[in-house]
């Protein structure tokens, strides 16, 4: 292992980075070793084709794991895939994995799911690893103290061929979150609140380490929600130091170390934490205690506000670029300035995605939905993040809670987060979504997306409009 800087306090990022340097040269980017490469059907076909054209092999198929998630239908999997182009992409991945010897969780496998949900639940995601995937939400895995980031297809090909990436060293930022999340306020509200406050580019060029008492109190799944949306802050990656919460989550997972190896591993992992005097290139502070459930009103994740707030008025915005963006967003979203958030009526609800499709998310949503019914004007669906999540939810009877309340209960996949499969908003439809992006057209052409937590989404489904889940949950 690298021994450089032992006498200087180092951040967790510094330690992980240094442990993965294959080659350093002053005039070239660092060659960084990759411990885990996750692959899915949308961003990989051109990479495999590139390998074939250059007559190259996959260097470490045993450090590579593939699944199909973006395109898969969330209806009955025994039916053939109706979209021929989606089917071709999934068939292509299956054939590529067979050709190059890559483990593949096919759509009929009990391991299938959104790539960022199955990595952790299989124990593939472990502290100290470098993890990449041709998907920007790879930042999710940073919740375990792994350096994890999204890459493009050329880099997918590069990692397949070399198990390395050429990387320039990013800067480090600590985001210190004080206090603890109030009742009814969730990890999703924390990350949405951070981005609403500091903007969609505050993390550009940085790896963010989330620290402080509020972060330490989060469960692993909540930490994943926070790290997942680091990319929406522009960051290369998000990190949270591993601790007993991390180890309790990982112990016994299929690919996690066992017995004596587990003891050695946890000791190594504890040593990854940033040293007490380590210096970051930047620091932000945020108070969890004052946080209120968040709702986005615009077409960028930073365009959000408190559920108790109102849609902003572009006339109040001083900066001309921001004023123009606000105006364009309100026109696209079909919203009037000054409208109270809780008066915005919705047509659709989507609970799922790599941001909020895990078991705790479904438990939280089910707790709100239990004994209630979806408003007659709303079409609501729950899409578990993986088969394992789906099976666990069914063991707990959550599917019955959702079905009795009028939600659809679907098969796992990315679904309406990016709407590559048939789960799409119709033009003009307004959706309360637990996903991560509210861009124009993201969930369907002219569809209108409001990002919220699973609890807020479930409450909106029942009320037919946004409501403050802190008070709604107590109502009979």
């Amino acid at each position: 292992m690298a021994d450089t800087g032992q006498h200087f306090p180092r951040t967790m990022f510094d330690k992980i980075w240094n442990d993965h340097v294959v080659r350093e040269h002053t005039s070239e980017p660092t060659l960084l070793y990759i411990d885990l490469h996750l692959v899915h059907e949308v961003t990989s076909p051109q990479a495999f084709e590139g390998l074939r054209l250059a007559e190259r092999q996959v260097r470490r198929p045993d450090l590579t794991f593939a699944t199909a998630d973006h395109n898969v239908p969330t209806t009955d999997r025994r039916e053939p895939i109706a979209d021929p182009i989606a089917k071709q992409q999934i068939d292509t991945l299956r054939a590529n994995c067979a050709e190059f010897g890559i483990p593949f969780a096919d759509i009929s496998s009990v391991d299938q799911g959104i790539v960022h949900v199955i990595g952790p639940e299989l124990g593939l995601t472990l502290p100290g690893k470098t993890i990449v995937c041709g998907d920007s939400h790879t930042s999710t895995h940073g919740a375990f103290g792994a350096l994890a980031f999204g890459i493009g297809t050329s880099e997918v090909e590069h990692v397949l061929a070399t198990q390395c990436l050429q990387q320039s060293r990013p800067k480090t930022m600590e985001v210190v979150v004080s206090g603890s999340l109030p009742l009814g306020v969730h990890a999703k509200d924390l990350i949405l609140g951070l981005i609403a406050r500091f903007g969609t580019a505050f993390g550009t060029g940085y790896v963010i380490e989330y620290r402080g008492p509020a972060i330490r109190k989060l469960s692993m799944e909540e930490r994943m929600t926070v790290c997942n949306m680091s990319i929406e802050a522009g960051a290369r990656a998000g990190l949270i130091a591993p601790d007993d919460t991390t180890f309790a989550y990982l112990r016994g997972r299929r690919y996690a170390p066992t017995e004596a190896e587990w003891e050695r591993a946890t000791e190594t992992w504890r040593g990854l934490c940033s040293d007490p005097d380590a210096e970051f290139d930047a620091r932000l502070e945020f108070a969890a205690d004052q946080l209120v459930p968040q709702v986005t009103w615009g077409t960028s994740p930073g365009m959000g506000t408190d559920v108790t707030g109102r849609v902003p008025d572009p006339a109040d915005v001083a900066d001309p670029t921001v004023r123009q963006s606000t105006d364009l967003a309100l026109r696209y979203m079909g919203l009037q300035p000054g409208t109270p958030i809780q008066e915005i009526a919705i047509d659709r609800v989507f609970i799922g995605s790599c941001t909020n499709g895990r078991i705790e998310d479904l438990r939280t949503a089910a707790a709100v939905a239990r004994g209630r019914h979806v408003a007659p004007t709303v079409h609501a669906m729950v899409v578990p993040g993986s088969y394992q999540v789906k099976q666990q939810a069914e063991r707990e009877g959550l599917h019955e809670v959702f079905l009795a309340a009028g939600f659809e209960w679907r098969e796992p996949g990315c679904s309406m987060c990016l709407a590559m499969n048939p789960d799409v908003l119709a033009p003009g439809e307004r959706c309360a979504s637990t996903s991560n992006r509210n861009f124009e057209g993201r969930q369907g052409r002219d569809g209108r997306t409001h990002l919220v937590s699973p609890a807020m989404a479930a409450a909106a489904a029942i009320a037919g409009h946004f409501v403050d889940v802190r008070t709604f949950a107590a109502r009979v």
């Binding site: 980017p29 100290g128 890459i151 390395c164 550009t204 052409r445």
Partner: protein, 205 residues
């Protein structure tokens, strides 16, 4: 990869902040398994109405900009999804360079892998370029990568920074994978310890 050295071309102005990769190439066009053919779908939902007819006031629908090869845009260009289909679509349409006050990280990186030069200029310079196009109809710019300059027809020169290694790769059209494989011995040496790598085949229980 096509090298990029000196390029003169028409500049299309797209004065919006946070142009995301979903806007650059909507997801319904990501199902192709080739790298080519995406240009026809570039900015699809801004360029075309739901019925497929062009939106006449969108910049690329205007005859003056149809042959544009340089894109001028607002801050945080290319945010969102990591899809390399975004630079593929820009390149396939004919764009060789993008000028903006800032770029999202993954998109910026993806450009260099495809022979597109993303140029960061200060906000004031980008605003001045927008004004030059909108008020004076001055649409042609020259981008000189060896000199690291954008030159406007009025004689204004805008210097820009670019990482020396990325510049070299772009100037010579170098293949990253080939360059990395020259260090294969060092990769093999690293792999003898690789402290955090765990073989999936041998570690499953």
């Amino acid at each position: 990869m096509q090298p990029f050295v000196v390029h003169s071309g028409i500049t299309a102005p797209l004065n919006r902040a946070n142009i995301d990769t979903d806007a650059i190439i909507p997801k319904q066009f990501l199902k192709r398994i080739e790298r080519t053919g995406f240009g026809q779908y570039l900015f699809y939902e801004w360029r075309y109405r739901a019925d497929g007819t062009p939106v006449p006031d969108f910049v690329l629908a205007q005859s003056a900009y149809q042959d544009a090869t340089i894109l001028l845009a607002g801050p945080n260009f290319g945010c969102g999804s990591s899809r390399e289909h975004a630079p593929w679509a820009l390149l396939d349409y004919g764009f060789r360079a993008i000028i903006a006050p800032s770029f999202a990280d993954i998109f910026y990186n993806n450009c260099f892998k495809n022979g597109i030069l993303p140029i960061v200029l200060p906000d004031e310079s980008v605003q001045r370029l927008f004004e030059r196009i909108e008020s004076h109809g001055s649409r042609t710019l020259t981008i000189d990568l060896p000199a690291q300059e954008v030159r406007d027809a009025d004689g204004t020169v805008y210097p820009f920074d670019v990482d020396a290694y990325r510049k070299k790769c772009l100037l010579e059209g170098l293949d990253d994978i080939g360059l990395t494989l020259r260090h294969e011995e060092q990769i093999s040496v690293y792999e003898t310890t690789a402290p955090f790598a765990r073989s999936i085949v041998s570690s499953g229980v």
